[in-house]
Symmetry: none
Subunit: 146 residues, 2 copies
DNA sequence: ATATGAAGTGGGAAAAAGTGGGAAATCGGT
DNA sequence: ACCGATTTCCCACTTTTTCCCACTTCATAT
């Protein structure tokens, strides 16, 4: 299972170490896409096969005739990248994906059960604060037995 | 699968490098047609065979009138070009196709699963911004498995 | 405390990709 | 058939990417 938080450097060549604990599960080849919120998603090739199938299942073979389907596919596929993890466990994040989430210097790499997310370190810090508050409220509710 | 975004130069001889990652899948010969939206479509010969069959097949429900279908086909077929990719991986984009989408200097080349789109760089930038918001909503739906 | 090994980071060299331009071949018009 | 113009083919340069090696840091165990 993919869990935990890691802060890694993104170097001048757009490389980031995949946390060693994730490497086995992710395999040699991964798919990086824009995520929901200010982050990227990393899928295994198997997961991506499912996702892209789901996208195409709802379509006819002539999906490009429908305007909104066109836009959506353009967005999803056009901004995805198939990436090989190098011999010492680094991935290369294309610049067009970095731009979308203002990634630079430090990346937060988060395991979320069966997917991995990549955040700008600062954005992740803020996200955590936000989530922490929600968690506290949830905990209080639980404590009051609601 | 054809995915990702690449910005390439279109030179004085109307040549554009096909992104190296696309070359194997596209093969030596491709079909370039006017696209829908401000772009061109590129299909493999195999994919084009499917598409053109579907378009001309009267059995297919394209949900528009015969007359419309005729003029649509005239548009797609009449302006489609069969193009050979040269020995070092460049394609030649006919001028009549460039004019339609105001292509010059820089082209954005986008992989959209099993077709490739070619955009004027600037138009692509605007398209991305426009679609980003609605695509996220659609993606959320998808993520919730609706 | 020190040695050992694994993980992460940085950088140089080799290879590949992208770009530009000249020469040969082809085409069209006279 | 000849000439000029356009297209095609090939070569060469530049930039980017990839591959590999080496150093540093952190954690673990002795």
């Amino acid at each position: 299972m993919l869990i935990g938080e890691y802060i890694h450097t993104i170097d001048e060549k757009n490389r980031v170490s995949v946390p060693a604990k994730f490497r086995k599960e992710l395999g040699k080849k991964i798919i990086i896409t824009p995520g929901l919120g200010q982050c990227l998603f990393i899928f295994t090739t198997a997961e991506w096969a499912k996702v892209s199938k789901k996208l195409s299942d709802s379509e006819t073979d002539l999906s490009f005739l429908k305007a909104d389907q066109r836009s959506f596919n353009r967005y999803m596929f056009g901004r995805a990248a198939e990436v090989e993890i190098d011999s010492i466990g680094r991935m290369l994040i294309p610049e067009f994906l970095q731009e979308g989430i203002h990634l630079r210097d430090k990346a937060a790499i988060i395991g979320v059960k069966d997917r991995v997310e990549v955040w700008n370190e600062k954005a992740w810090g803020e996200q955590k604060v936000k989530v922490a508050k929600e968690a506290e409220q949830l905990a209080e509710k639980l404590a009051r037995n609601e």
